[in-house]
């Protein structure tokens, strides 16, 4: 075997501490090395040409490049090798930069180490076997989890590109938090007016299968070949028959037992309900926990009211399986609950703000409902306690956010903007009202955002006070907000009629649970991790699973939509060919040696190990062995190290190769 060694100076990055010409000279003497050279930038075009020419002239079979980390340029050198007619897996990188020049100072010893590193790579490449890429088939269908604006956008984009979509939403209707909002910043256009056409489009799209009131139970498989099990919760209404007339809803005698979660607890809903008038699909749900029929078997008013016999009290949860090629997770956020938190919660509540104790101390989403034309007050600003119009409202920003003592260190990003919007809406609707905003910093980065906040201050005369509020208490029917204007250095006490707390965005409680089902990592808060914070913001670290919207980090509508479209296009890229190519660095089991202990199955972080039956001539199973699914295996090598009988080999990193490397030291 003829091996070529190419030592890169990386400008000065390597050559500053490693004597590259000497490394090249010394390495030429290693047995098997036919040719060795150093060059200033091996990754540059002339550098790659150098490699190709050397392969041709010296008839090389394999090459070793001493350069930066394989993370950086392994791909570059492998394609250079392919262009020269060498199998890409007969290329080894000796990391002379991150592992050598950057971490050492002494030129002599760094050069020695560089020579050793190259020697190791040479010994490995001698034993490398040519590998070819694995082809995996692709199911051209996407599973979108979450039917908020991000999920809707992602589903529509994928469907409009001509691929099938399964959209799963856990609530009875799609629309998410955006459907609850009154108006949106910075243009003050009605949220539902821009959202509902898209919701309808989703429902009518021939390529979108909409599963509301459903949850993902399990996802198995791998990129291009996921198998998702979805639980369709019992609505107790036959969706195929129901016309959405709403007769059952109006006849239901249970009027004041359950709070509407869509109205953020500001209104009641019947036991059979449609969450909001524009709901998609417009089909009611029966809430078993309050329905009289489920409590004592009587009532049945809705059954009588329904002309089409769509009520089905005996309906059970059903499971369905969807084969999909990619998953887009768009599960969104929930608001941090401000009041006292249950024991064992990772967040602490704000006892000092009296949320939960005082009815007129509300959170941002509750104010959205009060300001919304479809809300419980029909858009008139009224306080929840007595229905009077508040004349003085205090808005408090950073409630939960930027408060490590309560458990949340991050900035929720949207509160500055929606508080400005809400203060503005209040001033537009209550002309003699006064609005105060307590802020720590105003973070209005975004197109027309800063202008919007200035408009609230300059045109709508919202009073901005820099300082955090310490306490809210009731006195003579007023809520005394104790703050400090830290710019003037004076205490500020405001006797408010109503207080709106801009509470932090946090992931759903079951976000970690879903992450474990889907197999994606999450951070300490429960936000799903992107693969790279800058260059792979919509990919999760699991191939074929993409992220969109606020499940990844606090995001506003435009960002969520942009991210959803990006995730959709990533999925579409997957579907651009009929099969996927992937690196052949996967583990293989030697079935003759495998003892069937399945320790590998326990340690595999990707669930790639399956059980395979070995049958004799008569078709009788006489042995169970491990089988590693080539599509799922990520080549981490954990099973290889665990295997007691040494029957698993990782292609490209087998024992012979690794031991040769070590022996060369």
């Amino acid at each position: 075997m003829k091996i070529g060694v190419f030592i890169c100076h990386c400008g000065e990055n390597i050559s500053r501490t490693v004597d590259c010409p000497r490394v090249a000279e010394t390495c030429e003497k290693i047995p098997g090395v036919e040719f060795s050279i150093d060059y200033k930038y091996m990754c540059s075009d002339p550098g790659q040409k150098l490699i190709k020419d050397a392969v041709e002239i010296h008839k090389l079979d394999a090459i070793v490049v001493g350069s930066c980390s394989p993370n950086m340029h392994e791909r570059t050198f492998r394609s250079a090798a392919v262009a020269a007619g060498i199998n890409p897996f007969l290329v080894e990188i000796a990391n002379l930069r991150e592992h050598c020049s950057w971490v050492h100072e002494d030129v002599e010893s760094a050069t020695q180490k560089a020579i050793e590193l190259v020697r190791m790579a040479v010994e490995k490449v001698k034993r490398d076997k040519p590998l070819s890429k694995i082809k995996v088939p692709v199911t051209k269908r996407v599973l979108v989890i979450g039917g908020g604006i991000a999920g809707i956008q992602a589903a529509l984009d994928v469907a409009n590109a001509g691929y099938d979509v399964v959209l799963v939403e856990k609530e009875p209707s799609i629309g998410g938090h955006m459907s609850q909002l009154s108006e949106t910043f910075p243009t003050l256009d009605c949220s539902q007016c821009i959202l509902t056409p898209r919701m309808v489009e989703v429902n009518q799209h021939p390529r979108i299968k909409l599963l509301t009131y459903s949850e993902v139970e399990k996802i198995e498989g791998f990129i291009g070949n996921f198998k998702a099990t979805i639980r369709k919760k019992a609505r107790h209404i036959n969706e195929d028959i129901c016309s959405g007339c709403g007769q059952c809803v109006s006849k239901c005698p249970i009027k004041k037992k359950a709070f509407s979660s869509f109205e953020e607890g500001l209104a009641y809903r019947p036991a059979v309900y449609i969450p909001f008038p524009q709901a998609v699909p417009n089909i009611p749900v029966i809430d078993e926990s309050v329905c009289t029929y489920y409590r004592n078997g009587k009532c049945g008013m809705c059954v009588k009211a329904c002309d089409r016999q769509a009520i089905d009290f005996d309906q059970k949860d059903t499971m369905m399986v969807a084969d999909v090629g990619a998953v887009i997770v768009a599960t969104g956020y929930k608001l941090y609950s401000i009041g006292k938190q249950p024991l064992g919660s990772k967040y602490k509540g704000y006892g000092e703000y009296g949320y939960g104790k005082y009815k007129d101390v509300i959170d941002g989403l509750q104010f959205e409902r009060i300001a919304s034309a479809s809300g419980p007050t029909s858009g008139e600003i009224k306080r929840p306690s007595d229905g009077k119009e508040p004349k003085k409202i205090v808005f408090i920003q950073c409630v939960g956010s930027r408060d490590p003592a309560k458990g949340i260190s991050y900035c929720s990003k949207i509160c500055c903007m929606y508080t400005a919007k809400q203060a503005m809406l209040f001033r537009h609707k209550v002309h003699d009202g006064e609005a105060y905003v307590f802020y720590m910093d105003i973070r209005a980065g975004g197109k027309m955002y800063e202008e919007f906040v200035r408009r609230a201050i300059e045109e709508d005369h919202v009073n901005y006070i820099r300082g955090r509020v310490s306490r809210i208490y009731e006195e003579n029917g007023k809520y005394i907000v104790k703050g400090e204007d830290t710019i003037a250095g004076v205490p500020v006490n405001i006797d408010a009629d109503m207080v709106v707390l801009a509470s932090a965005m946090i992931p759903h409680d079951n976000a970690p649970g879903l992450a474990q089902k889907v197999g994606i990592p999450y951070d300490k808060y429960g936000f799903y991790n992107e693969s790279h914070p800058k260059l792979k913001p919509v990919e999760s670290t699991t191939a074929g699973v993409f992220l969109a919207g606020a499940c990844n980090a606090p995001r506003d509508i435009p960002e969520s939509v942009a991210m959803a479209s990006a995730a959709a296009s990533k999925a579409i890229i997957l579907f651009s060919s009929d099969s996927l190519e992937r690196e052949p660095v996967v583990a293989r089991v030697n079935e003759d040696l495998c003892a069937g202990c399945f320790y590998c199955r326990k340690v595999c972080p990707f669930g790639a190990v399956e059980v395979r039956d070995i049958k004799d001539m008569n078709g009788v199973v006489y042995k169970e062995v491990a089988y590693i699914n080539q599509g799922v295996c990520q080549g981490c090598g954990t099973c290889t190290a665990t295997c007691l009988s040494k029957s698993i080999e990782l292609a490209g990193f087998n024992n012979e190769e690794i031991f040769a490397e070590i022996a060369a030291l």
Binding site: C398, P404, A405, M440, R468, S470, D485, T486, P491
Partner: protein
């Protein structure tokens, strides 16, 4: 040729670059905050970095004695963050602080402000900075003198000591009868048994300090 911009390019030549900025007034007003004596000293006494405070003002907002303070509590923290030693030590705010811990409890970044105020008071005593709130300082002194003598608080002695030192003879006289009736002002002191240990504690904790006369 004050600034060497030519055709939009900054000419970098030794000795020809922009001159080092002259020492301005602000250099003196804001000494190098991170290395300032006061910031280091406070950190050493409280085991917390003064830069934990992000100046939200929640401490000042909730402070029950805020109305009597000329400088808000967060402003005193700012003084120390900036290394403005004189401003911090001459402020009466640390002396007015009642140590009720409302600020420390509510601080979003877990900065223990009450501890901080204690440290500033200690430093001003060490440096002999006499506070304008003489009575508060005298009260502290009088209280500690009782503890040093008897091992616990002796109210009648505390009253006598405080009044003789401050000459505020008639302050709070009206509450004396009630307190005597309730047995809160006993004539003779209650002493702890092991006063030697108390003496040792005082000896160990005060010997390095310059007593504030």
């Amino acid at each position: 040729m004050k600034n060497s911009f030519r055709n939009g390019f900054h000419v970098l030549q030794p000795g020809f670059g922009p001159a080092a900025p002259a020492k301005t007034a602000s250099d003196e007003v804001y000494p190098n905050a991170a290395h300032s004596y006061i910031a280091k000293e406070v950190a050493a006494k409280t085991f917390q970095d003064v830069n934990l405070c992000y100046q939200c003002g929640k401490c000042s907002a909730g402070c029950p004695v805020r109305d009597y303070m000329a400088d808000s509590p967060n402003k005193v923290v700012r003084f120390v963050q900036l290394g403005l030693e004189q401003a911090a030590l001459n402020s009466t705010t640390p002396w007015l602080c009642a140590g009720c811990l409302t600020c420390s409890t509510r601080c979003p970044n877990d900065f223990n402000l009450a501890k901080f105020m204690d440290a500033v008071r200690e430093i001003s005593i060490e440096k002999g900075v006499k506070t304008k709130e003489k009575e508060i300082s005298s009260f502290h002194e009088a209280f500690l003198r009782q503890v040093r003598l008897f091992g616990r608080s002796y109210e009648a002695g505390l009253v006598a000591d405080y009044k003789l030192n401050t000459l505020r003879l008639l302050q709070d006289v009206d509450s004396a009868p009630g307190m005597i009736l309730k047995g809160k002002l006993s004539v003779l002191p209650h002493k702890v048994k092991d006063r030697k240990t108390i003496k040792n504690i005082f000896g160990k904790t005060t010997h390095k300090k310059k007593r504030n006369g």
